[in-house]
Subunit: 352 residues, 2 copies
């Protein structure tokens, strides 16, 4: 029985990707070897990682003064690594605090140098995205989390890059879901386990201009080392990169970012409309800042709540429980989630 | 056609492991979800990682004052991370230089503090393992690479731990191949992609006594953070850990370390005997220090070399080319390589 997987990540992947991945574990590329047992230096794997990079470039229209990396350690390692590479001792980084992930990022950056919280939505439980942020001249880069999985908020416009201020964004949970203009950013990083692929690799898109700002770094934490070695400084997470390549290939085949953005707009609109029209569901996030990836809501009526839970279980809906730090519900609508699944959920909402 | 995979890593995995992994990508544990799309916080995955840890403990007889971690970044990140956690500013770490990996490790440690090369085999092309190493009182820990994949040498006895000197070992390429006494080590780390599983996770076995020596570290590089969070500080590399669990389960089922050590002894003996008995193959490593995991040799006669290559190709032997930094041949005999494959290679050697 097919489940409707609304999980927040690691999350649903396209069925055809899973099929190809499963086959390649037995016999990859018809070479009579598993994708798990080939050398990362083999031409077979080099083709995979190069294809994955090319798909990133094609799908996001990445200019050629940017490099594409597939690293390890998730966004959590990038919290530290981005600051380690960018923040000089006498400078100040500006962090926008829109939730748990932003906060974790700024705590790691504080281990490198001066950090200023230039805007925050903490006073209202991270239910909105700060606007009209003043970026003073002393700020050398601004860091923000483009989409907040836990609270269900999302930046719909971004802080502006300037000559003296770089832009760093953790896009783990909304990259590849909508158009972005790469030139507006200097470092974009994203754990794979939402719209890219399975857990185990981290995509970094980096402006070559910000390489080598700090030097003599630990090799594994130095972007320039990974750029020089084309993400092959050491053994990369072969399988996670392979499945990411398959997922990006699926995205391209189904029409790319323009197409998926329309589908995602539609999925989230249908669900938010159902929430707003119901008299027992309450959306968590400020309407203008609602995330199109993670829809957060609560049910205050215990009786309705019980019925809603039963119906979800009956209809094979999984992964809809809210994050342990906020409770309630969270329906994640990542790229691979089909509209049919959203309709099943909407029908439940309307029926109660 | 089954290939005989002598690759140095990522390397051969047991057929039954590949079969289970392939199935779980479609339907894991019969929950109608892929192992790639479940939350790492789900009970299904918690069971996997706990089982993997328990298998490490059982197979290696790990005392309960040690912690087991599954991290990311490979041994290459551990080169830096082990020094970052252990080496205080006023101390000196002692490194045994037995090849490329040792050298990379000590270069990363130098970014933290004082490093002394207390023994080296570099003068003879890393063809032997240094003996009778003097460890002076000022050395706070000794680091060594237990098996050198590139040169085909292996420590058959280890530097001794003392009250004031910890022992750190990179066992990426021979862990789980033979008995070791965990209490003789303080940190053992190993990239998974030889005897543990596929690329993408790194096993760390750490004496709790050496946690918290250095503090206020970047969270992702702090062993104590990962110990506190049971390797779930952030999203772990779910699939790599899952396949590692399957591989360790396979090892346990087939008789554990005692059994595999006998098999490995036998496999390497047969191959080394064939090399020594041939009049055209030349082993690279000093006989007493030969690795049971990576058998390195050269063929100087061009005619024989050509025939040998042809025969290997004809018999579907793959991954036998020497490392790009030394040339020649390298036959890796990891746990999952069956004796039949060794016999095929030995037959070729004898036939020429």
């Amino acid at each position: 029985m097919t489940k409707h997987n609304f999980g927040a990540g690691p999350c649903i992947l396209p069925k055809e990707v899973l099929k190809l991945a499963s086959e390649s574990i037995i016999n990859f590329n018809e070479i009579d070897l598993s994708i798990l047992e080939i050398s990362h230096r083999s031409q077979d794997f080099i083709n995979v990682i190069e294809k994955a990079k090319k798909l990133v470039i094609d799908l996001l229209n990445v200019p050629n003064n940017y490099s594409i990396l597939f690293l390890q350690g998730g966004a959590s390692l990038q919290f530290f690594m981005s600051a380690l590479n960018l923040l000089k001792k006498d400078q100040t980084a500006g962090y926008i605090n829109t939730g748990s992930w932003s906060k974790k990022a700024l705590l790691e950056a504080k281990k490198i140098g001066n950090v200023e919280i230039i805007a925050s939505s903490e006073e209202k439980g991270f239910s909105f995205i700060p606007r009209n942020i003043n970026i003073s001249d002393k700020i050398s880069y601004v860091h923000f989390t483009s989409n907040n999985t836990i609270y269900g908020t999302q930046f719909h416009s971004y802080p502006k890059r300037s000559k003296n201020c770089f832009i760093v964004s953790d896009m783990s949970s909304d990259i590849f879901s909508k158009k972005i203009n790469i030139s507006d950013f200097d470092i974009i990083y994203a754990g794979a386990q939402k719209n890219i692929g399975p857990a185990g690799t981290t995509l970094v898109i980096i402006n070559n201009e910000v390489l080598n700002i700090n030097s003599n770094l630990p090799s594994m934490l130095d972007y320039s080392v990974h750029v020089d070695k084309s993400s092959m400084f050491n053994t990369p997470p072969v399988f996670s990169i392979y499945v990411s390549m398959l997922t990006l290939q699926w995205l391209k085949k189904m029409g790319g970012i323009n197409k998926i953005e329309k589908i995602n707009d539609n999925k989230s609109r249908i669900l938010y409309d159902a929430i707003d029209e119901s008299n027992y569901l309450k959306g968590y996030a400020n309407k203008a800042d609602r995330s199109k990836m993670n829809v957060t809501f609560t049910i205050e009526n215990d009786n309705k709540k019980k019925k809603f839970d039963e119906m979800c279980q009956h209809k094979s809906i999984v992964g809809i429980k809210g994050h342990r730090s906020v409770g309630g519900y969270r329906a994640s609508l990542y790229n691979a989630l089909e509209i049919d699944s959203v309709n099943v959920l909407v029908d439940i909402i309307k029926s109660l």
